[in-house]
Symmetry: C2
Subunit: 315 residues, 2 copies
C-alpha cells in the first residue's frame, strides 16, 4: 500500500516549511505574452533556496521526522539539486545529511553539497553502487532515507509551490510543470485539483527522455532508458507513486525538442532577466512548439530551478 498525499498534507507541509523557504516571486513578461498570445505567470522556484523547488520537499521531509528519527540524520543518493536541498534542510535542523554521490559527479555539485554541510560518500557511478552504498550507510547510522521524489513528504512539499502561485494570482485556465521523476508534477497536480478543480494540468518532457509521456499515454509504467537531453533534471523515471498521482490528476503530457528547450531558455533569460536551468524551460518550449493551446488563456508555469554552469551555456 503506497501512501499518497491529500491536499491537507500539502497545507500541513506549507505551514511547516513556511518559515524556512522563500515565498518566491511570480513574474510575467509582456513580450513573452505577446509572442505566445497568452497571459503567463511564472512561479520562480529558480529563486528558491539552493536554486530549486527541491528545497521545499526536502525541508518538509526533514521537519516531519520525530526527534528520535531526526537525531540519526537523513540520507539519499543524488548528484543533483535534491542532494543540496537535503543537506541544507538537515543543517537548518542541526542534523546530519549523508549524501551518496558518484565519483564522477561534477565538481560544482560536490562543492555545493559540501558547502551546505552534507557528509558525502563517493561511490562508483552505477545505480547498484549508489543503492548498496546508501543501504550500508542507513544500516550503520539509522538515518532516514529521503528519496528525491518517491516520498510522501517530498511530494507534499513540492505541492506548496503551486499552492502559493494560486493563492497569489487566483484562478488559472492551465498550470504547467516539467516532469522527470514526477515529484513536482505530482505535488502540483494535487494542489491544482483541490484548489482549482476546473483548471487543466499539463506537463512537458524532453522528447529525448520521454518515459513519462509514454507511460501516461499507454497506462503502463515505463522506465527511462538511455535518456539524452540538455534538461539534466529530467533524466529520471516516474515511480509507482508519482505515476498513480499523475494518472489521476494530470490532463496531458507533451514532449518537446532540444532546439525549443534552448530557445525557450534564452527567451526567459533575455526577456525576464532571470537565470533558469534547461529543465525549467521545457513547459515554455512546449508552448512555443505549438504542443499546448494557450491562446487567450491564463497559464501558470512552475520554473523548477536555476542551477547550471555559467561557463557552458548552450547559446
Amino acid at each position: 500500500m503506497i501512501r499518497i498525499p491529500e491536499y491537507k498534507d500539502i497545507a500541513d507541509a506549507h505551514a511547516r516549511i513556511s518559515p524556512f523557504v522563500h515565498h518566491t516571486p511570480v513574474l510575467s513578461s509582456k513580450s513573452i505574452n505577446e509572442i505566445t498570445g497568452a497571459s503567463l505567470y511564472f512561479k520562480c522556484e529558480n529563486l528558491q533556496k539552493v536554486g530549486a523547488f527541491k528545497f521545499r520537499g526536502a525541508t518538509n521531509a526533514v521537519l516531519s521526522l520525530s526527534g528520535a528519527e531526526a537525531a540519526k540524520g537523513v540520507a539519499t543518493h543524488s548528484s543533483g539539486n535534491h542532494a543540496a536541498a537535503l543537506a541544507l534542510a538537515a543543517r537548518m535542523r542541526g542534523i546530519p545529511a549523508y549524501i551518496v554521490m558518484p565519483r564522477t559527479a561534477p565538481e560544482i555539485k560536490k562543492k555545493a553539497v559540501a558547502g551546505y554541510g552534507g557528509i558525502i560518500t563517493y561511490c562508483e557511478p552505477t545505480l547498484e553502487a549508489r543503492e548498496s552504498t546508501l543501504a550500508q550507510i542507513v544500516a550503520r547510522t539509522g538515518a532516514t532515507e529521503v528519496h528525491p521524489y518517491d516520498n510522501f513528504f517530498v511530494i507534499a512539499g513540492q505541492g506548496t509551490a503551486a499552492k502559493e502561485l494560486i493563492e497569489k494570482e487566483g484562478s488559472f485556465d492551465l498550470i504547467m510543470a516539467p516532469v522527470g521523476g514526477g515529484g513536482l508534477l505530482s505535488g502540483t497536480s494535487l494542489s491544482v485539483s483541490s484548489l482549482l478543480p476546473g483548471c487543466r494540468v499539463v506537463a512537458a518532457e524532453p522528447a529525448g527522455a520521454d518515459d513519462a509521456f509514454r507511460s501516461f499515454h499507454a497506462g503502463i509504467l515505463y522506465s527511462s532508458e538511455h535518456p539524452k537531453t540538455i534538461a539534466d533534471g529530467l533524466l529520471t523515471s516516474l515511480s509507482e507513486r508519482t505515476f498513480y498521482i499523475i494518472r489521476r490528476h494530470v490532463n496531458d503530457i507533451v514532449t518537446v525538442s532540444e532546439e525549443k528547450i534552448v530557445e525557450a531558455m534564452r527567451l526567459i533569460w533575455e526577456r525576464m532577466k532571470i537565470i533558469i536551468e534547461p529543465s525549467s524551460a521545457v513547459p515554455l518550449a512546449a508552448i512555443l512548439e505549438g504542443k499546448v493551446n494557450v491562446s487567450g488563456k491564463k497559464v501558470g508555469i512552475i520554473l523548477s530551478g536555476g542551477n547550471l554552469d555559467l561557463g557552458k551555456l548552450p547559446f
Copy 2:
C-alpha cells in the same frame, strides 16, 4: 533656478506610475550575506519593465505632461535604457516618442527601441550631432524633451524604487546605488533622507569613470572625460541638478575596479539566479573590495538593470 524634487514629488510620482510599473521583488541571498558579513536586500530593478529602473522616471515624465503637451509627444537622445523606457512609456500613453540615436549604436539597442514603437532618427556619433538633431526634432514637432537624468520628473520617478524598498523591508543602516548621471542616486537619496533620516546613502562608481567621485570629494562639478568601464550605464556625467542633490543627501561615493565589478556580477548571477548588467554590480563590488564597511549592517542595494548581450559575457 533649477527645480529640485521634494519627497512629496516622489510620493506623487509613485501614485502616478504605480499602475504601469512592476513593483519589483526584493531578494536576499544567504550565501552572499555570509560572504559579506551583512544582511543585504537587493531591489531588483533588472526585473522592471524594459529591464531597468529607467522606466520609472520615463513613465513619470510622460504621465506628468498636460493633454496638449502629450499630444505632441516626447523626445530624447540616448542609446541606452532610457531610450527604450521613454519609447514604452510613450506607447502606453498613446503618444509619439522621438528617439535620436547614433548610427553606430548596437543593433540590439536599435531593435529594442523600435520594438517599443520609438520613432528613431539616426545621427553621427558625436554629442554635437545628437543635440542638434534633437533640437531640430523638438522645433519641428513641439515634442517635450525628456533628459535621461537632468529632469525633475525623471528624478522623482527614480526615487520610487528606494521608496518601495523601504516600505517593504523597513529600516536600513545603509542604502547603496550605482552612480552615472546621478538620476537614480538623486531620487534614492531624496527618498532615504525623508523616510529614514538616520540611514546612510553611499554610491559606487567604476574607477574608470570616476567623475562623480571626484566631483563629490572636491565640491566642484567635473565632467566624465574618456570614461572606460564595462559598466556601460555609468559613462555619463552628473548635471548641476543631480550634483546639487547628491552633495546634500549622499554620505559618500567610492570607486571600484573592473575586476571586482565582474566578480560581483558573476556572484549575483550564480547565487541569486538573476541577470544583471555590469552597472548593477558596482555597489556589491564596492563591498567585496572593502570600500564600504557593512559588517553586521542591514543594507539595501538598488540593482539598476539587466540589459546586456548574452553572447558577450565577461566570464
